[in-house]
């Protein structure tokens, strides 16, 4: 009897969990995360969606999504189809003066860093006063991972990805630089992003695409990449990691991955990882670019 009373009391309180939702593929910073499935069967519906672009980047912040719902809606719910563990909800706003019988909504969302680069579907639903969601409104989007530039090949396999991509990634907030020595003695690094090539626009020339955490100004990426759009010159390429500044950290674990373009023979292409090497640097190796970099691996290209 007592137990039943306690359970009844707990049920009546209608408690909700506080969810940060950092593991979720989508986050609405000023919304609420409902970990469970929202019961369907509601009559409220989403009537229109306005989005600036269908291309999302992993880790991208403050993407705006606006639209309208039917008048009886209380909240708008959003999630990635097939990803994550629940819905994000946010209350709808006033009645739209231009579209009678409809309410406006507006939400800003972040894209999680764990979303795989591929085509995805955003699902939106209007929630009525009884907490039931109406019909799902689907919005196709493309998510790309800017740590591994692929020319949007993940979303459209018919797009040709770069021929070679060498990616350096690390775990702590340090200023670590990727350095690649080419067979002709060139040095691709943050000071010479094209390795001193005579024609930097040549697609066969490798280019450094980012100087992450430069000067300890953190950008949240902790990765750098050298990209060859076309097959590079034949030879051995030496890959180094240069700890420019430890930024107060004791060191960092790092990995170097090599991605190569694969022709599927059916008009589609892939960018596949062909090698990976891991290592570590300590703060004692921070030299401000004056010391010798840490040798990590070598790559035979093409």
């Amino acid at each position: 009897m007592k137990r039943a009373a306690i359970l009844a009391f707990a049920a009546c309180t209608g408690e909700v969990d506080q969810q940060v939702g950092l593991f979720e593929p989508i986050r609405v910073p000023d919304g609420e995360f409902i970990e469970d499935e929202i019961p369907d069967g509601g009559a409220s519906e989403v009537t229109s969606i306005e989005a600036a672009s269908g291309i999302l980047v992993t880790g991208q912040q403050q993407r705006l999504l606006a639209g309208r719902t039917s008048e009886d809606a209380h909240a708008i719910a959003i999630r990635f189809a097939g990803l994550g563990s629940g819905w994000w909800v946010r209350p709808v706003q006033d009645l739209d003066p231009v579209f009678p019988g409809e309410r406006d909504f507006q939400l800003r969302y972040d894209v999680g860093t764990g979303v795989p680069a591929a085509r995805h579907t955003l699902e939106l639903a209007a929630v009525d006063g009884e907490g039931r969601r109406g019909p799902t409104f689907e919005l196709d989007v493309c998510v790309q991972d800017d740590a591994v530039p692929d020319n949007l090949n993940a979303c459209d396999p018919t797009i040709k990805p770069p021929a070679v991509v060498v990616v350096l990634a690390w775990d702590r907030d340090v200023d670590l630089d990727l350095v690649v020595e080419t067979p002709d003695g060139g040095r691709i690094a943050h000071k010479t992003p094209s390795g001193g090539a005579e024609d930097p626009e040549d697609p066969g020339v490798g280019r450094l695409v980012r100087d992450s955490n430069s000067g300890c100004v953190l950008d949240g990426r902790n990765s750098e990449a050298v990209v060859w759009q076309d097959e590079p010159a034949e030879g051995t390429y030496l890959v180094y990691a240069d700890l420019f500044d430890a930024c107060g950290e004791p060191g960092a674990l790092l990995s170097v991955a090599v991605h190569r373009r694969v022709d599927n023979g059916d008009g589609t292409w892939d960018l596949a990882e062909t090698a990976r090497t891991t290592g570590a640097v300590t703060d004692l190796q921070a030299s401000g670019g004056a010391g010798p970099p840490l040798y990590v691996t070598s790559v035979e290209l093409p």
């Binding site: 969990d17 506080q18 950092l22 609420e32 600036a52 709808v92 706003q93 009645l95 929630v127 800017d146």
Partner: protein, 560 residues
Amino acid sequence: MLIALLLPLALAGPPGVTIEIEDEDAPAPASRPTPRPVTPPASPPVTPAPPTGEVRPADRSPPVPEAISDPGAPVVAPTPSAPVSSPAPEPTPVVPGSDPTVATAAAAPDDVRRELAALRARVAGLEAERAAEEQQESGRGPAIRVGGPRPDLPPISVGFGPSMGVQSWGVRISGYIQTQYQHSQLSQDQIQQGGVTLNRDRFTIRRGRVRVSGDWKHFAFDFELDGSTTRGPFIGIRQASVSVLYRNPDAARPPYLMVTAGLTETPFGHEMRVGQRDMLFMERSLGSLAFFPGPVDVGLRVRGGLGAFRYDLAVLNGTPLDDRAGARASVDATRAPDYAGRVGFEVRPKKVAVGGGVSLLYGTGFHRGQDATKGRVEWSDLNENGVLDSGELVAVPGMAATPSLNFRRWAVGADLQLAIRSKAGWSQLLLEATMASNLDRDLVVADPVTTGADLRELQAYAAFLQELYRWAVIGARYDFYDPNSDLLDRRRGQFVPANAAIHTISPLVGAVLPAGVVPGFRGRLVVQYDAIVDALGRDARGVPANLRNDQITVRLQGEF
């Protein structure tokens, strides 16, 4: 007869002794003084009383102090300066081991009476002189009751620190350690933006206090340090004050006047004045924590009691020192001090103690202005493609500094305590309520400059505590706090009144190691569950809902 038998022994005893008089009604010296050797220049004449059992009128002397009736007790050594009411008899050497009955038989009755009267007068004079010397030399006041256990103060007698019920003058060292394990439903293995850890499930040293305090008849001081790991390893100051007192003759009662300067408790309500060593609940009620992030502030405090009347007034900086380790630095930013005070009563008819009072606070809050900023360029990714396009660079001009502004804050509170002592121990019922404006300094920080309107806050709690035969305690507290009684929430484009109230129900149960079982040490193990009902979450409709944020705390406290 007894006097006659013992006086010779007393007067012939070893020098360097004194008399200890225990009197329940009359004030007594602070402690049993150390015997001090006194060498008599000459022994008075000794004539033992007649050995007969006949009682004459002259023999009906006043009651003899027990110490004198003890053959083994110290005796008084006469001195030439001892006042006497009759001419001093001619000195006669005392012969150790001589039979007093022989001399008695030879003495005339008139001589005996005369000598006995002279001796009594001499003894009385010596006692008075000795008491005066002790008081003068040691500074002990006859107003302090000593020589027994600490006065049995009811648990509702708070607010006067260790100076109340003091048993002896001098410096004392005391302390306690609170180590605990806490589990919260809010815990997550994540960090918030800015690096704040969301996990709350952990062992901590909530408080580790060492206190040095001193008490003299008219002066006292307190100095307390705290070491804890609540927000990381931390050591800070928690009490530092000097007091001037005019004490009540009964040490179980508060001083008539106690003027304290330094870091001391804010005199508001009952809970704020309860020492954290004695508080059985894990923390103060939520509203109290919001109003006063810490119980202590720097300033001047005047308090005391006269009969059942109690008063406690203070002028303080108005920025309480957060007693949670690692709290942000708090330096008062306003010139105007805060005024706080409580007037109340405390009566103790037999086994019941009743107390209560009303409290007031009036102070000045501070809205912090902003520094001047430099101009900068901001990228606004209008088309959200992650690439810098034309028209996406925006100039953000620098801003001039904005001034800081003050605002008024106040609070009115009332509290009532009822304690009943039974065979099981003390039963306590505690009630307190506070209405305030712009006083929240920790939870929903009040700033009417920003909101454009004063924030009204309401706080109340009711608590019950029951001791169980010295070895256990049970209790519960219902705590209510509304940080904004005028809150509005926007739903579907319309503003609707919203309820920001937070209700906390906190049952507790504990085992106690009472004082006296282990000399100099006592402790307790208390488990408290906090069931919190609020509107801090949102349900699927976006409507405020009860957030799952209950917590349980197990705390072990050891005191010395």
